[in-house]
């Protein structure tokens, strides 16, 4: 009897212990929770890195997508026809491709910036200047992200605000409002950086060498503002007057003067860095990442000749001719090429965020449309000489705007080759029809459509949702 009682007690105590609610507390092994992160002083560095990792990842897909849309490159996936048709033939696919990634990825950046700003504002560890510096860092990236959203989706508009509650629909605004909101974010970044003391409360990677203090980083902010204001001016965004009118081009000139333009080193500027180290990202355009990434054949005949008869030095530096043409393998005809990229061929090659060469070309554009035509021609010639080893431009102060635009777009095409500019440029100057179509069925796109998932959740109300 005593042993039976003992047995019953053992069973009862095992049962009680087994049923303790404490045993139901199980951590999340796979991802840190918000509380874990908030409690960790080192987390600010990691989330700051997260913002740049996002921007870097988006840069790769931006170049790859706009490179195809702008007829700078092909990406052959012979066994997935839609990867070609979506970019070259249409119709755009609302469930995949550039229209989707140039939406979701940038708003994801904006959400991360929103969370980062909240964490900074709530921090009890950071000093006020440190907070200002951190907010200046993130707001600058926010202005850049919005610039990309509107550069891709243009007239369809979109939201500009991240709401605390992600289920709420952020108001839809038009193209101009997005451009202006992007500028507001950059200006807010400028204000914060100016009050940001001498150092960030986290480190910036080697791609920001020379720009890793609030003062240095402010120059990056101003460079991005120069690019944005040039877009605003060329589109005649609300507040800029008619397209190509001087108001906003004046701002471009101011922005550039506060930036880092170095005529002696046109490659100077902040870069996205890549690495072959485990866990890091490789340059997504490198041969090591994509064997199917090749240049559009028009890049050879369109390159101007140096005085010795060689092609534009930028062509020689960035492009090579293959032994025999390649193609997607038969399923999709008409897009063979023998031109291949030298630029970005190494998996650790950096990709510029924005550089002096772009700033110089932005200044040429701004000078022309603000009346400083000799200055504009002189800027173009610096680029032609330094980068292209080409004779001076035949432009004169008497040349037409159209002639200038044609000359400018040539320089931008070869100077900023495969940096995500050409498709944007031909649209903002209204010459989308100058893009070469390989076969008659091919088309060009003015703006990228809104993703299906965004349409569905907004009852198909946004433009392009149909």
């Amino acid at each position: 009897m005593r042993s039976r009682l003992f047995g019953a007690l053992v069973i009862a105590s095992v049962a009680v212990a087994g049923c303790s609610a404490d045993r139901l507390t199980v951590p999340n092994y796979n991802s840190p929770t918000g509380e874990d992160v908030a409690a960790d002083p080192g987390a600010l560095q990691l989330t700051a890195n997260g913002l740049l990792a996002g921007a870097r990842s988006n840069m790769g897909s931006w170049i790859s997508g706009t490179g195809r849309l702008g007829r700078e490159a092909y990406s052959y996936t012979p066994t997935e026809g839609r990867n070609t048709t979506t970019y070259l033939m249409g119709p755009q696919d609302p469930t995949r491709g550039a229209g989707n990634s140039f939406w979701t990825a940038y708003y994801s950046d904006l959400r991360n910036i929103f969370d980062f700003n909240n964490a900074v504002n709530a921090s009890t560890r950071l000093t006020d200047p440190q907070k200002e510096a951190a907010l200046g860092y993130s707001e600058t990236l926010a202005g850049m992200a919005l610039t990309f959203v509107v550069a891709a989706h243009g007239s369809f508009g979109g939201p500009v605000e991240i709401l605390e509650n992600p289920r709420e629909l952020s108001p839809w605004v038009d193209r101009d409002a997005i451009y202006n909101a992007a500028l507001d974010r950059l200006e807010s970044g400028k204000t914060h950086l100016a009050a940001g003391g001498t150092a960030f409360p986290f480190s910036l990677n080697s791609g920001f060498s020379g720009f890793n203090t609030p003062a240095g980083y402010l120059k990056v902010n101003r460079a991005l503002a120069a690019r944005l204001n040039a877009y605003r001016a060329s589109y005649g965004v609300a507040g800029c007057g008619a397209a190509y009118s001087p108001a906003c081009y004046e701002m471009v000139l101011t922005n550039i003067s506060e930036s880092f333009l170095d005529e002696g080193d046109l490659s100077s500027g902040p870069n996205y860095i890549y690495s072959t180290a485990a866990g890091d990202a490789q340059n997504p355009l490198s041969n090591a990442s994509s064997s199917a990434w090749v240049a559009h054949p028009s890049i050879l005949p369109d390159a101007q000749l140096q005085s010795g008869g060689a092609r534009d030095q930028r062509y020689i530096d960035k492009i090579t001719t293959m032994d025999r043409p390649v193609g997607p393998g038969g399923a999709i005809p008409g897009i063979e090429t023998d031109q291949d990229f030298l630029v970005f061929s190494n998996p650790e090659d950096v990709i510029p965020m924005i550089n002096s060469e772009e700033l110089l070309l932005l200044r040429a554009e701004a000078r022309w449309f603000t009346g400083d035509k000799p200055g504009a021609i002189s800027d173009l010639n610096i680029v032609r000489t330094t980068s292209g080893n080409l004779p001076a431009s035949s432009l004169t102060v008497g040349s037409s705007d159209d002639a200038f635009i044609e000359a400018l777009l040539y320089e931008r095409r070869y100077s900023l080759l495969i940096q995500g500019h050409r498709w944007v440029d031909v649209r903002r100057f209204g010459v989308l029809n100058t893009l070469p179509l390989d076969v008659p069925e091919h088309v060009t796109f003015d703006d990228l459509i809104i993703p299906q998932s965004e349409c569905l959740i907004r009852n198909n109300e946004p433009p392009s949702c149909g």
Binding site: V26, N49, S108, S291
Partner: protein, 1013 residues
């Protein structure tokens, strides 16, 4: 190995106490099938008045039983047969009983609780039972295959034809969008894992997640060791399993020991399989035709430059054209693959100690080169009567499974996947050849170089291997704590452990043509998964049996039970991916490495109580019960969620002439489905490293700290009737289930910066009928014909959805090909896609439904003397499939019927017509096709060699059976693809609709010889 375990078992028996019952005599006998001379193996012979006295018949139906003195009532029963009670007189020394086959399967016990069961006759819910004989008639790659066509109300499909299994069982429709969609599997009381672990094939094919065509771990269970399978379909039946039971419970009981001298059974199968359907590809009669197809004709009046360019582009086709057609698919998948299986078992013991020990080994080659699977099981089941109050059962199995599945399915990099490549590569040169050094030719088509591949080279060298070691064990202790005249109280403790380790090994050597398609030469991945599941319960059962004459004597019995249950499930998958390998090396330290890990741990606690009442001469059976459960995966971990149930049945005898019995039954029950591990947490996620540092970003999916289980409420009504002295029986069940508080990955506006959030909300319904008709059209001295026909139809609807239309996670490839877009008011399994309207607009519209209109099964069994014939036909009517395989072949200008005439007099060749009319996805209906089929699932004939012959072979052989069987011998279907059942994403809650170059299906033939001695 097996001799070792026999030794252990024998040694154990020496130490186990023998039971001292007042047994003073022994009888021997034989149980046969009525109308035949066939012995019935596995029948129970028990003495109801003396618990613990009983045995199970062995080979040829023979048994030995020790009996108390005097006249004794003995009950003989077996699954699938009507039970019989006979009185053995005090002087009787032998007993022969013939059991009548029970077409309705009314008899046998079905579990109703953790420690209770009821005769099937009284059951108030529809429970399907599949017995050993039905399971093993025609061997199958895995248990799913063996169950196909045998469970009304379940849709059972294999995901591909790969050896070693991989399939899905879905009972009574969709119950969950995000939670688990598969039934719970319980083997001898152990809740086992049926995880389908993605092996890592995607590291080579870049196919994205959930497309590795893995085997699910049900494949480890050897059907030959199973005694019976009960399928608890409805919530009222499955509620005893609480929040994992929404999808039904499949209760597997393995074979157990029989008292007596050791009896041995040996079974040997030889089989072979070959492809049941391959597609072939387009013939190119001349090189010019090839050039025309892939480069296009030269325009008239072309300039010299254009001619030169045309010739340059055409060169690769002209230079490599060898012949109009090589049958690549026949070369790679066309072999006749052998298989063999050996099973050995021994059973015996005393009345007090019974053992069952079995070992099996199965090996099957796949029809694709260098693929195959193997499985070894060793099982030891012990039953011990410790004293007249205590019984103990132990069940253990050690399992090893191995698999080489090759490369199949989707492909997002160069054409690595063989079928994918065949879709695009014109079959005009011999790729299946090697030079003196053993090198395969390079495939110059589809872009050539690393953008293309030679599948023969790939399959000769690539490795996609998995190896599983598994231990499943359980124990049960029943203690009769209290016995009085009308009362019995039994305490029962049960516990089980399922532990396995799966190692997946991927290797793609540097020299393969497609390397380095991803920029990094060679790939090696080692992945280890460890899974541990423990469940334990303590139960108390009070059985009250009023004595006759009292005022409660209308009650036959009242059983009250209660108890508590614990469950733990731990899962840990980790590994290392290595790329840029040093040539010839497949160790993961020989390249650029990336480690990965994923873990989960789930803890559940539950409490339950249940009352079962049998009254009015066993005509009325009523059950009420409730289970309260809490779990670590819920937002509120301490909150108890309650799942009540109630059911009742009443049997009317002889309600009309010719109607033997009519039973009406009704049940209502509630069960749940848990959130996934981590759904409750708001997390950040590690992004890539940058500048040598880690980075963190917000997770795209927002967790929900308030998450709770989804709840299914089900009503089930049924009528069971038997007519004409059980020559005809009918079972009709109607179910109506509603799932509320659905677990959803609700879409967030992408412009919020997040993509989805885990929420509870919305409501699904699923209503349907299951009808089973069993008949014995002929039963006479020379022929016994049993026929079973079942019918199942389900209608499903999204009654309410708190969010706008969104795509179900990993079901399909979006609106261009048809996908499940969940929309309020529409069928749950509606397939939506881009549809072109007459005004030229294209809108996302419902264009099909994945759920068949109905399914029917026809099983016929003929017994002619010592011969048994069986035929099982499975009919699925309707249901659509997104045929991406055809889309690939058409895009590659390479489908076998490309040059056939297009419909409606369209001048384009058929393949071009289809591809162009698909309009780059603007007309998704083009590749969405009816996937209905009729399959000859099983056909078998067996011959029981008469005793008169076996005795001449050797005195010790007690029975000898020879059989021939075939599985999936023929499919009648209009479906264009290889198999209307194939699924690129494997198991899928909502709709398994994508056919994308899966491992081709096969048919198999088997010869089996089995004997007992």
């Amino acid at each position: 190995m097996s001799r070792f375990i026999v030794g252990i078992a024998a040694a154990l028996m020496l130490f186990l106490p023998q039971v001292a019952h007042s047994q003073d005599r022994s009888i021997t006998g034989r149980v046969t099938i009525q109308g035949t001379t066939l012995g019935l193996e596995g029948a129970s012979v028990v003495v109801p008045s003396s618990p613990g006295v009983g045995t199970v018949t062995g080979n040829d139906g023979r048994f030995t039983l020790r009996l108390p003195a005097g006249d004794v009532a003995v009950t003989v029963r077996a699954l699938g047969y009507k039970q019989q009670q006979v009185t053995v007189s005090a002087s009787q020394a032998t007993l022969d009983v013939a059991l009548e086959r029970d077409a309705l399967q009314l008899e046998g016990l079905v579990i109703t609780g953790q420690a209770t069961s009821i005769s099937r006759q009284n059951l108030a819910t529809s429970v399907a039972v599949v017995n050993a004989e039905d399971l093993t008639r025609a061997p199958s790659a895995s248990l799913e295959g063996a169950l196909q066509g045998k469970i009304p109300g379940a849709s059972i499909n294999l995901n591909s034809g790969a050896p070693g299994g991989g399939g899905q069982i879905q009972i009574r429709g969709v119950t969950s969008i995000l939670g688990s969609g598969e039934p719970l599997f319980v083997v001898d009381g152990v809740i086992i894992s049926n995880a389908a672990i993605q092996g890592g094939m995607r590291t080579i094919t870049s196919s994205g997640s959930n497309q590795d065509d893995p085997a699910n771990r049900l494949a480890d269970i050897d059907p030959s060791l199973i005694e019976s399978i009960e399928v608890l379909k409805g919530a009222a039946a499955s509620a005893i399993y609480g929040s994992k039971a929404t999808n039904g419970v499949i209760v597997i009981k393995t074979k157990r020991g029989e008292a007596g001298r050791p009896r041995y059974a040996l079974s040997q199968s030889f089989g072979m399989s070959n492809a049941s359907k391959l597609l072939g590809s387009r013939r190119f009669e001349t090189a010019d035709k090839l050039v025309d197809a892939f480069v296009g004709p030269l325009a008239p009046g072309a300039t010299p430059e254009e001619i030169a360019a045309h010739n340059a582009a055409a060169a690769v086709y002209r230079d490599n054209y060898e012949s109009p057609y090589f049958d690549y698919q026949d070369a790679l998948f066309g072999r006749t693959a052998p298989m063999f299986e050996t099973n050995f078992s021994v059973t015996g013991g005393s009345e007090a100690t019974k053992y069952f020990l079995a070992a099996s080994h199965k090996e099957e080659d796949g029809i694709m080169r260098n693929t195959g699977a193997m499985r070894q099981n060793v099982r030891l089941n012990l039953d011990q009567i410790v004293s007249d109050k205590i019984t103990a059962n132990v069940s253990t199995a050690f399992i090893r499974s191995g698999n080489d599945r090759g490369i199949t399915g989707n492909n997002n990099t160069s054409s690595v996947s063989p079928l994918y490549l065949f879709a695009y590569s014109p079959a005009v040169m011999n790729l299946d050849t090697q030079d003196a050094a053993g090198n395969y030719p390079e495939n110059p088509f589809v872009g050539g170089g690393p953008r293309s591949s030679n599948p023969f080279q790939t399959m000769a060298h690539v490795r996609n291997h998995s190896d599983v070691y598994r231990w499943i064990g359980s124990g049960r202790l029943d203690v009769t704590a209290f016995t009085a005249a009308e009362h019995d109280v039994i305490l029962s403790a049960q516990g089980g452990l399922d532990w396995f380790q799966q190692a997946d090994d991927i290797y793609s050597p540097n020299f393969l043509q497609y390397e380095p398609a991803n920029g990094r030469l060679g790939t090696a991945q080692e992945q280890t998964t460890r899974s541990r599941q423990i469940n334990a319960s303590l139960n108390a059962v009070w059985k009250y049996t009023p004595s006759p004459g009292g005022f409660l004597s209308f009650i036959s019995s009242a059983t009250t039970s209660g108890g508590l249950q614990l469950e733990e499930r731990d899962f840990n998958r980790y590994g290392v991916l290595a790329e840029n390998l040093i040539p010839g090396m497949d160790n993961i330290d020989q390249g650029r490495t990336a480690p990965f890990q994923n873990r989960s741990a789930i803890r559940d606690q539950a409490f339950y109580g249940q009352e079962e009442l049998l009254a009015f001469d066993n005509r009325l059976f009523v059950t009420v019960g409730a289970r309260a459960e809490r779990s670590s995966v819920n937002g509120d971990r301490e909150k108890l969620y309650v799942y009540p149930k109630a059911s009742g049945s009443f049997r009317f005898p002889e309600v009309a002439k010719g109607v033997d019995e009519l039973k009406v039954r009704a049940a209502i029950g509630r069960s749940g489905n848990q959130p996934r591990y981590g759904d409750r947490d708001l997390v950040l996620t590690a992004s890539t490293q940058i500048g040598g540092q880690n980075s963190l970003r917000a997770a795209n999916t927002l967790g929900n700290p308030d998450i709770r289980p989804e709840t299914m409420t089900e009503q089930e009504y049924g009528i069971d009737a038997s007519f004409l002295r059980s020559r005809l029986a009918l079972e009709v069940t109607y179910f109506n289930r509603t799932v509320t508080d659905l677990l959803l990955t609700a879409p967030l506006p992408n412009s919020s910066g997040l993509t989805q959030q885990i929420i509870n909300g919305g409501e699904l319904s699923s209503k349907g009928y299951e009808i089973a008709v069993s008949a014995t059209p002929i039963s006479n001295d020379w022929l016994d014909w049993r026929s079973n026909t079942s019918f199942y139809k389900v209608k499903q609807k999204i009654e309410e959805l708190p969010v706008p239309t969104f795509r179900s996670p990993s079901t399909g490839f979006g609106s261009a090909y048809g996908d499940a877009y969940l929309t309020e008011g529409y069928s749950t399994t509606a397939i939506w896609g881009n549809k072109r309207f007459e005004d030229g607009t294209v809108r996302l519209s419902p264009i099909g439904d994945a759920t068949p209109d109905f399914t029917m099964q026809f099983a016929n069994n003929f017994l002619v003397n010592a011969f048994t014939f069986n035929v099982l036909v499975d009919w699925t009517n309707g249901g659509v499939r997104s045929n991406l395989t055809q889309n690939l072949f058409d895009e590659g200008k390479n489908s076998w019927d490309f040059d056939h005439a297009a419909p409606n007099g369209d001048p384009r060749p058929l393949g071009q017509y289809r591809y162009e009319e698909w309009r780059n996805g603007q007309n998704a209906g083009m590749y969405l096709q009816d996937a209905g089929f009729v399959k000859l699932r099983e056909i078998s004939v067996s011959y029981d060699v008469p005793q008169s012959l076996t005795s001449r072979l050797g005195g010790s052989i007690s029975n000898l059976r020879l059989s021939l069987a075939g599985r999936n011998l023929h499919t009648w279907t209009d479906y264009w693809g290889m198999d209307p059942e194939a699924s690129n994403f494997g198991s899928n809650n909502v709709a398994r609709i994508v056919d994308l170059g899966q491992y081709p299906p096969s048919r198999s033939f088997h010869f089996n010889i089995s004997m007992g001695f």
